[in-house]
């Protein structure tokens, strides 16, 4: 698509065009497939983001230091230095949010990507709406994380692992390990809810707030779902010893509360 390619490629190198509103989040797309790169840029542009494009790691690094994007969409397979190495390099010097894109599928590659310090991982081909939702979620998390600094977790880092009452919540791998080192499986809804509790330990969270935290959308009144998820989480954490079942307390007229302190391991 040469017609589309020209203006976008041109837009990459120079500083943001004056007519672009500064509040449009700046997304750097790093992908060696030219067609894919341009189509992604068009999607982002249409969806209220400001895309920049790079075809390899060197160009990406140059753009990161020059333009300071809000988020990087990074393809794993790049000529020369691959996406994982680039991700590690960026992570070593900044907390810039990174979403890995890959054609390698899920499974071990996903873990490798997250281990390299990526905030999220999206497999090609993806549903464009889903990608946009992930981009927004990661941007929101980055903002929330910065805002959460006073809660004692320090400046926003990549959340790797939460620990509470012997339990481990591996954020990158989306795994929950019991104190007996047994892997407990939660549905993604349950995991997101438990993650929200870990993000806000020992705080009473209302159902509305929990809906917002887990879906990113304001509560539509269907908060009964939170009750169901909480009771499911309790049942699964009860596990072997029955010890994990009462970690989530029901607060009358309030909502729910994770009753134990949480420690966070961050960094790549």
């Amino acid at each position: 698509m040469p017609d589309l390619a020209r203006p976008l490629e041109d837009r990459a190198a120079p500083p943001p065009l004056p007519e672009r509103k500064p509040q449009r989040p700046h997304i750097l797309v790093v992908d060696d497939d030219r067609g894919h790169r341009l189509l992604l840029a068009r999607l982002l542009d249409r969806s209220g983001f400001r895309p920049s494009l790079a075809a390899d790691a060197a160009a990406a690094l140059k753009l990161i230091s020059a333009a300071g994007p809000d988020l990087v969409l990074l393809d794993v397979m790049l000529p020369g230095e691959d996406g994982l190495a680039l991700c590690r390099r960026v992570r070593a010097i900044s907390n810039l949010p990174i979403i890995m894109l890959t054609a390698l599928g899920q499974g071990p590659h996903r873990v490798a990507g997250l281990d390299a310090g990526a905030d999220d991982y999206v497999a090609k081909p993806f549903d464009p709406d889903e990608l946009l939702a992930r981009v927004r979620a990661v941007l929101r998390r980055a903002r929330d994380g910065a805002a959460a600094a006073p809660r004692g977790f320090g400046p926003r880092g990549v959340r790797r692992r939460y620990r509470f009452a012997g339990w481990t919540l591996d954020v990158a791998r989306r795994e929950v390990w019991s104190p007996q080192k047994v892997l407990i499986t939660l549905t993604s809804g349950e995991f997101d809810l438990l993650l929200a509790f870990c993000d806000h330990p020992e705080m009473v969270l209302t159902r509305e707030h929990l809906v917002e935290l887990t879906t990113g959308k304001p509560s539509d009144g269907a908060d009964r779902r939170i009750d169901i998820l909480v009771s499911r989480i309790r049942a699964k954490l009860a596990g072997e010893s029955g010890g994990g079942g009462d970690l989530l307390k029901t607060v009358r007229n309030g909502g729910y509360q994770l009753t134990v302190p949480v420690t966070l391991e961050s960094g790549a």
């Binding site: 992604l40 390698l104 090609k124 081909p125 080192k181 499986t185």
Partner: protein, 464 residues
Amino acid sequence: MSAADAAAPAAAMPPRAARGLGLVFRDSIALRVSLAVFGGLVLTQLVGFLLITGERLHVLPAMDARRLSATLDRALESAGAAGPAGPILKEPDVTGAFAADFAPTGEVFDPPPIHALRAQLMARAGGRYDMLLVEAPFPPEAGPPTTFRLWLRLAGTDAARRWLVLTVPADLLRRPDVTRLLLWWALSLIGAVPLSLLVAQRLTAPIRRFSKAAEHLGLDIAASPVPERGPAELKSAAAAMNAMQRRITRFVDDRTQMLAAISHDLRTPISRLRLRAEALPEGGERPHMIADLKRIEQMIGATLDFARDASAAEARCRIDLASLLESLCQELADLGHDAVYRGPAYLAFSCRPVAVGRALRNILENAVEYGGNAAAELIDRGDAVEIVVRDRGPGIPAAERERVFEPFYRLDRARSGSHDGAGLGLSIARNIARAHGGDVTLDNGGAGGLVVTMRLPRPAAGEG
């Protein structure tokens, strides 16, 4: 199987011993070895037995006779000098000897063992004495007698019939105790039975280890290599087996690599098409195009899963199988399917979690897709766990049940409706179950519908 296991005596642990015996009592190397050991022991024991009894029965009496006859000769000589009566000589195995001019006064008897001795003595006497009598000791001793008296009538002294009297140990007249020998021999042979079994066990332990390792390899090509130790023959067999494993692994890796490369190269253009479809006007062909792309992507994913599982590189860890199965059901239910879980709230089990999750998801998705619902049950059978998934669909005719496990096989359209899976779900599930030493089997439920059972054996303690 550790060295300590192998060294444990067959009788120490009943189940083990039973297994060992079971192994011995069919045509096996263990049986052959134990028979060879036992046969060898019987043979050597028999030779020893014959040698000893032969000595007792023939050689020793002859030696006794020779010695006694020499003693008699000396006694006769000194008797001539000593006069009519009185002690004549002392010798180690003759506690007393005297000449007498009267016949035996005590109880004379004729035990069979003396016959051979008498015959030998008479033959050696050269006619110097013509009668030999045995007299019990007098006064009688308490218990069995320890000595006897031999009375020998000297020939040719007609005026006064003179006797030579020797006191000899009772042993000389006792029949060699062959029955006791026989008893000992039998006992030692009975003792040789467990010994030969034990030897057979120990000798065949490396072979059993080898066959076990080979069996593991057959189930899971990624299993650890067969240990190359033990006897030279086994070492070379293990080395050959390991070389084969490496070749197969390399072949599988190459194939996986190729499939991954193909799917990678396909996914980027599909992703481009997906993004282009987004730019098409709403309605019209757009939803169909997106659905088709989704289907292509799913098929690529399933193909890659199928290729990847053969190599099973994932590490085992302990997982809560109950929460895994329950979560899979809940996720299907959240999508609007009828999927329920029944079983324990918690069941720790060691396996490869991603692989087992994929297998179970395939089974559950198949159930809701083809059967309309999925009722999953988790059962702890002790040495294994079973996941049973029932649906209320049309089931699968018995003739087709094995075929649906073949990759890319699908029931004919009339039965399966318009489902467009890649036909890999059950193949993948079965591959994963088999890589765990288990299996996936199909059955038709009593009230119609399909029953899929995935059985996963519990790994032995210490093993992964």
